[in-house]
Symmetry: C2
Subunit: 238 residues, 2 copies
DNA sequence: CTCTCGCTGATTGTTGACAATTATCTGATA
DNA sequence: TATCAGATAATTGTCAACAATCAGCGAGAG
C-alpha cells in the first residue's frame, strides 16, 4: 500500500511538470547541447503530449534560465559565454555566503555536514568523476538546505542547474582529489564549528576562486581556439 | 514614425506577457490583496482573453513568487508571513551586497549615484510617501544596474516585486525623511568612492537593518493582534 | 447526534484547430 | 554576380472544447 502510494505520488504530477523535469534532465546532463534548437511540435511528438502542455514546460524552463525564447521562431538551449559563467559563480558565491552564514547557526549542522563531507571523501577515493561532482554539489546543497531559507534555496537551484548545464557541455576541469578535499575543509569546519562570519567568508571565497579558475580557463581556451571552430554566422539559425 | 514605432513596440508584446504585467501591477500595487483567490475564467473574462493565455501569465507570476498554485483548485495571491519577510530582506541584503561590490568598480558610478541620490532627497523634501518609496527603490536598483550582472538583476527583480507587494499590503513603516537620507549616505558614498569591500558591507547592513526593523514590527503587531482578526479557518477558501 | 460515503458543481488539466508572424527560398533585375 | 522583392513553408501565438480532479453538501447508517 505504501509502495503503491509512492508510485502514484511520483506518477501523478501534472504532465507539464513531468515534461519539464525530463527536458531539464536532458539539458543539464548534456544530452542536448547548448545552442540546440527546440521546436514545440517535435518535443510534443517525442513525449506524446500536446503542444500546449509542452509549451507550459518550456516556459517553466525559460524561467529557470535553461532555454531562451525567440518569438514566432522557436526555443533554443541557452549558451553560456565566459561572462555568463562569471555571473553564475559570483552569484553563487553570494548566495552560498548567506547560506553558510545561516547554516552555521543550525542545530543539526555538525551531523549533516559530516555526512556530506564523508560522502565527498568517499567519492574522491573512488576516483569516479561523475560521483565526485555529485558529492561536491550535494555538499554545497546541504549547506543551503541547513539555511532554512526557501527563497534562497530556489534561487540557488536555478544557479546550480545552469552550472550543471555548463559542466556537462564543457570539458569540466576536475581538480585533483586531494586538492578538492582540502579546498572544502575551511568551509566545512567553519559551518560545523558554528562561526557565521567565518562560514560566510569561506563559502564566498570557495565559490569565487573556483569560478575564477573556470573563467580564466574558458577565456584561455576561447583565445587559443579563436576562429578555429567558430561556427559560421549561421544564417537564421537552423 | 518614431512615436508609432514605440507604440507598436509596447502594444506588440505577446498577450500573455501583457496580461502578466497587468496582473503583476495589480498585485504589487496592492489592488488585489494577498490571499485573494484568482480563477482563470474570471481573469480571462476581465481581460477578454482566452484561458490558455491567462494561464501562461499566471505561471509566469508563479515563477516570480507572487502567486501560488493549488492543483485543480485555483490560484492565490501569495501571503507573506514574518518569516517570508525575513527571507526577503536577508536575500536582498546578500544580492545587493554583491551588486554594490561590483557597482563600485563601474566607471559611471559617480554620476548615476548622484542622480539617484538627488532624486531621493527631492522626494524626501516633497514628503510624498509614494514618491519617497519609489526613489528609494530606484536608488537601490541603480546600484544593481551598475553591477552589469543580468542574473543578479533578474533575481533582484523578483525580490523587489515581493517587497513591493508586502509594502503595499501592510501599513509600511516610513522612516522620517532626515533618517532616510542619513541611512543611505554610507552606501552611496562607498559606491561613489569606488571601495568594493566597504560598499558591499554598507549595502548588506543597510538592507539587513531595515529588514530587522520590519520583522520586529511585524512580530510585535502579530503578537498584540493575536487572535483578534485571525480569519476563521476558512472552509475551502473562498 | 455524529460520522461516512457518494453525488454535484466548479475549476483546473489537456488537447486539437486556426490565426499571426517569421525565416528562407526563388527569381528577376541592375 | 550581387541585391532586392515577393512567395512560401515552418513555427509559434491564441483560442474554444473536452476530460480529470477536487471541495463542499446532503443522505443515510450507526
Amino acid at each position: 500500500m505504501a509502495a503503491l502510494k509512492m508510485v502514484s505520488a511520483v506518477a501523478k504530477r501534472s504532465l507539464d511538470k513531468a515534461a519539464a523535469d525530463a527536458l531539464r534532465q536532458a539539458i543539464v546532463s548534456g544530452e542536448v547541447q547548448p545552442g540546440t534548437r527546440l521546436t514545440e511540435m517535435e518535443i510534443a511528438a517525442q513525449f506524446e503530449l500536446s503542444r500546449g502542455t509542452i509549451r507550459a514546460a518550456l516556459q517553466r524552463l525559460m524561467g529557470e534560465g535553461l532555454i531562451v525564447q525567440r518569438p514566432y521562431s522557436g526555443w533554443e538551449v541557452a549558451t553560456l559565454t565566459s561572462h555568463d559563467v562569471w555571473e553564475l559563480y559570483t552569484l553563487r558565491a553570494s548566495l552560498e555566503g548567506l547560506a553558510a552564514r545561516l547554516a552555521a547557526s543550525h542545530p543539526d549542522r555538525r551531523a549533516r555536514m559530516e555526512i556530506a563531507f564523508d560522502a565527498l571523501k568517499a567519492a574522491a577515493d573512488s576516483g569516479d568523476g561523475r560521483e565526485i561532482t555529485e558529492a561536491d554539489l550535494s555538499l554545497h546543497k546541504t549547506i543551503v538546505s541547513l539555511a532554512g531559507h526557501s527563497r534562497l534555496a530556489s534561487q540557488y537551484d536555478v544557479v546550480e542547474q545552469q552550472v550543471r548545464m555548463f559542466m556537462a557541455s564543457s570539458n569540466a576541469i576536475l581538480p585533483r582529489s586531494a586538492m578538492l578535499i582540502e579546498n572544502h575543509v575551511p568551509l566545512v569546519t567553519a559551518v560545523s564549528e558554528g562561526d557565521p562570519d567565518l562560514a560566510e567568508r569561506c563559502a564566498s571565497v570557495h565559490s569565487t576562486s573556483s569560478g575564477e579558475i573556470l573563467v580564466r580557463h574558458l577565456e584561455a581556451q576561447q583565445h587559443t581556439h579563436a576562429g578555429e571552430a567558430a561556427e559560421p554566422p549561421k544564417p537564421g539559425w537552423r
